[in-house]
Structures are given as C-alpha cells and as structure tokens.
C-alpha cells in the first residue's frame, strides 16, 4: 500500500477526534458557565462569551434542529434543505473556481512570458485582494445586471475574484521552478516555448499549484456565500445564513446549523482538490520500488 493509503484512515480518525474534543469543550464551557453563573470558577471575572442557550445552543439542539422541518408543517427537514442550498452554492463556487483558476493560470503564463508584465501586473494583483469583498460584491452584481450576467453568474464571478489570486501567484512560482539545467535541456532539443511549457513547466508547477487550488477551492465557497449575501440571490447558503441570522432570537441553533453546513461545504471542496492532487501526482507519491 502507498503511504497515502496508509494515512487516510488515520486522518479520518484524527478529524473525528478533533470534532469530538471540540463538542466536549463546547458543552464543558457551557456547563461551567451555568454552574458559576457566568464567571471563571473561583473568581468574579466574567467569561468572554455568555453561556446561555441563545448565545451558545447545546450541541444536541444544533444537531436536533437538522431533522426538524424547515417550515412549520412541511416535509423537508432542515438537513435536506441545507444540502440543497449547499449544492446550489457549490455550483456557483465551482464555476468561480474554474473561471478563477483558468484566469489565474493565464495570468501566470503571461507574466512568465513577459518580465515587463510580470513587474507591471504583480502589484495590481496584490492590491486587488485588499479590496474588501463586501464592497466589491454589490458592484459586480450591479454591473452584472446592466449586462448579460444573471445574479447567479455575478456571484460566480465574485468567487472567481478570490480564486484567481493564489493560482496566479503560486502558478507563476511553479512555472518558474524548473532548474536552469532542465530548461537548457529543452533548449538543446530546440523545443518551442509551448513544448517547454507543457512538458516541463506545467508538470513542475503541480506541487505549487495544488496548495493554491486547495486554498482557492475554500475561497471560492467564501466568495460565493458573500456574493449571495450581497446580491440577495436565493437558493444558496448565503441567503439561508442571512435569513437565519435575521431570526436568530427565535432559533439560534438554526444559524449554527447553517454555519456548520458552510464549513462542511468548504471541507467538501477541499477534499475534492485533495483527491484531484492525488490523482495528478500519483506517480510521484510512489515510494516503494516495485
């Protein structure tokens, strides 16, 4: 078995253990607060976060609300509703990821080709990421409405905006990573620039690209959710979070459930990139001589 194969069950175990530990801490903290009346034991210093059921609902309540119907008297449970919403957001994020990655790689290639553009573009690429998404999202949505873009497409574009950055930056580093010797070797074959790109630079860039893809995948979910919230697009987790936040006082556990759903979606897309990485790098992960 490969090292990866051996590691996988262990990793799942570790993740579950951390989850259990976290739930235990959560409940332990609540219990402590309830016992002392909201202060650190033996002192009168107040706890940083209140432990009442509105601020911190019980773990079992959060889990319990998952199987409650979303609408009073309806058939659909909250869990099913959240999965549907997550799927909707996932599609937006996936488009954003794809567009952002292609754009990011394109930028990396352009910057590789021209040191002038490399120097000219890099500061702007950096600055682009300092613009708060909250400010940018409504602008993109508004622009989208004046053109052919639907709101959902505008949301994907917002996700792409976060995605392209790590791909461009790491991609460029990866494309530049082959040693001079390898580049000279390709030169000695009189290989055209494109052949050097495909047969040397891209394969060599994979170890740089996959960490970027992992980050970009998670960012694309963040971008999609924030985009939904700013545009009011219905159907995805962003809207759900907005709604549940509005009704927090009557059902705090629902917002927590929606946040957990977003986190799981993030984990899911992260997992997809990990699988993609293992497929793409499978040769290099071999260790034992066959």
């Amino acid at each position: 078995m490969t090292e990866v194969g051996r590691r996988a069950p262990f990793q799942i175990l570790a993740v579950v253990a951390v989850l259990v530990a976290f739930a235990t801490l959560w409940e332990g903290y609540k219990a402590m607060g309830d016992a002392t009346g909201g202060t650190w034991p033996g002192t009168d210093r107040e706890l940083p976060v209140a432990t009442d059921d509105l601020t911190l609902p019980h773990v079992h309540e959060i889990l319990g609300t998952m199987v409650d119907p979303v609408q009073r008297g309806g058939d659909e449970t909250l869990a099913v509703f959240l999965v549907k919403s997550a799927w909707f957001t996932f599609k937006e994020a996936a488009w954003g990821f794809a567009i952002g990655s292609v754009f990011g790689l394109g930028l990396a290639i352009v910057m590789l080709r021209s040191s002038f553009l490399d120097r000219g573009l890099l500061p702007w690429i950096n600055i682009s990421q300092t613009i708060p998404l909250i400010a940018l999202a409504p602008i993109v949505v508004t622009w989208g409405r004046t053109t052919f873009l639907s709101d959902v497409q505008a949301v994907s574009l917002i996700a792409a905006y976060l995605t392209f950055f790590p791909v461009a930056v790491n991609g460029l580093a990866g494309l530049k990573s082959p040693p001079d010797e390898s580049l000279e070797l390709m030169d000695s074959y009189a290989a055209p620039w494109s052949a050097t790109l495909w047969k040397l630079r891209f394969p060599a860039a994979r170890p740089y690209l996959f960490p970027a893809f992992k980050l970009a995948a998670t960012l694309s979910v963040v971008g999609a959710i924030v985009g939904e919230i700013s545009s009011g697009v219905r159907g995805g987790l962003g809207r759900v979070i907005l709604d549940f936040a509005g009704r927090y006082s009557t059902g705090p556990e629902r917002l927590y459930a929606a946040v957990i759903a977003s986190a799981l979606l993030g984990l899911f897309v992260f997992g997809l990139t990990v699988i993609a990485e293992r497929i793409a790098l499978r040769g290099q992960l071999l260790e034992d001589v066959g």
Partner: protein, 260 residues
C-alpha cells in the same frame, strides 16, 4: 565550410554581461577542432570556462565573438537539427516521468510515433543495462542508474555528437569507473563523437583521445595532450602508459596554476 570536423571552434570569446555590471570574461580566443569519432576531454581549474565552452558548442549561449561549427554547419543550425545529445552533472531527469518516458522525451519532441518511441527506449535501456526499470520513476533509482538514464536519453535519437558536462561528477569512484567503461563501449558501438568536461585527471586520461587543458579564467587552451592507450579495458588503468599520461595532464594543470 569544411565537413571533416565534427566540431570546429574558431577564435571564440565569451564575456558574460558584456558592458554591464558583473562583466565576466569566461573564455578567450579558443580554437579547437574535434574530429568525427574522437573523444575529447576539457579539463582545467574550476571556473575556467569548461561548461561555458560546452554550452557554446551546444548553442545554448552565443559567443561574444568567433564562430562555432558543428558538422560543418553553424552551431545554431546543428541545435535545430538535433545533431547533438547532451548530459549534465545532475541527471536532470523529469521526476514525473517514468524512466522510459524520460528517455523518450526528445523523441516525443521530434514527433516520433509512440510505437517507434517505445522501441527505441527499450533498445536504449538495454544499452545502459536498465531494461527492468522502464516503468520506474527516477526517484526509485540510484544516482548512478539515473545518470545512465540521462545518457540513454542523450543518445536516444542517436546523435553523432555527445556533449557531456561532468556527467559522472556526482558518482562514487567504483560506479564512476564502471560508467566510464560503459560510455566507451556505447560510444564505440554508435561511433559517436564526444566532448567531455571533467575534473578528474584519471577520467580524462582513461577516456580521451585528446585532453584539452584550459588555463584559469578567462579560459584559454593551455595545452592539448594526445592520449593513445589503444582499446580501453579496465586493466588500462594499471597500464604504465596510463600513469604516464595522467602525470602529464597533472603537470600541465600545475603549470597553468603556477603561471596564474
């Protein structure tokens, strides 16, 4: 133009960063002819321009002045025509490619069919005695084996000229001697011309028909030593004539350093 030399170097100079900060005169007024089928070694103090001279012949860099012809054509044309194969000190294998695919890389770039490539890489693997490793990845091979793969790659399209820059530099002494014998037998079999950069006096003496001793930077040809040891066999290394040549090369190297 004359067709009778494999490599013809005429009054070649190379200055890096000419007219800029960090200007380095690497080699100066080099004239050198290498005959077809000849094995010529370049030896000299570190930094004297051996690699530079080799890269000039390969047209990986251009001379500041002078001309270089390979098989009677300008070096640039020879590179486009794939007239030479090249091997470096580090094997430079692509670690995402299996051994056979590494050997096939130049063939792929030349547009050979898959079937022809397979056939040739199998043949080359037999030549360097690594038949069983076609489907391994480079990391699964020892340094010496990787170097053999690099040589197989350089020879895969059977170029008439092989340019090698300290190809055995990173190997232990035993592996090195073994590889030297292997290279000689491969070279003889394919009738290849070889220009070979080395730091090892014994290696130069054992392998070469002629040894070119370069002076310190900017490198100039200090002396060319003819070596005639007949057919090389492992016992050649114990031949008194071999020791005589090694001493001659050593003394030549000493005298360039002393003249510095």
């Amino acid at each position: 133009m004359t067709g009778d030399a494999a490599v013809r170097v005429r009054s070649v100079e190379k200055t890096f960063n000419l007219g800029k900060v960090g200007e380095v005169a690497a080699i100066r007024s080099v004239d050198l002819d290498v005959a077809p089928g000849e094995f010529v070694s370049l030896i000299g103090p570190s930094g004297c321009g051996k690699s530079t001279l080799l890269r000039l012949i390969a047209d990986l860099i251009e001379p500041s002045s002078g001309t270089i012809e390979v098989f009677g054509k300008p070096a640039a044309q020879a590179r486009l025509d794939q007239d030479y194969g090249m091997a470096f000190q580090r094997s430079g294998l692509f670690d995402w490619r299996k051994i056979a695919a590494n050997i096939e890389l130049p063939l792929e770039l030349m547009g050979w069919t898959k079937e022809k490539r397979r056939q040739r890489s199998a043949e080359m693997l037999r030549l360097v005695k690594l038949d069983e490793f076609a489907d391994h990845y480079p990391q699964q091979l020892s340094g010496g084996m990787q170097q053999r793969v690099a040589i197989a790659r350089a020879l895969s399209f059977k170029p008439q000229l092989l340019l090698m820059d300290e190809p055995f530099g990173a190997l232990d002494e035993m592996t090195r001697e073994h590889m030297q014998s292997e290279l000689i037998s491969i070279k003889t079999e394919l009738d290849t011309t070889v220009v070979f950069v080395t730091h090892s006096i014994a290696e130069a003496a054992f392998m070469s028909d002629r040894v070119v001793v370069l002076s310190p930077r900017p490198g100039e040809i200090h002396e060319i030593i003819d070596v005639d040891l007949g057919t090389r066999v492992p016992d050649t290394r114990e031949d008194p004539e071999f020791f005589k040549k090694a001493t001659e090369i050593r003394e030549s190297l000493r005298s360039v350093k002393a003249a510095e």
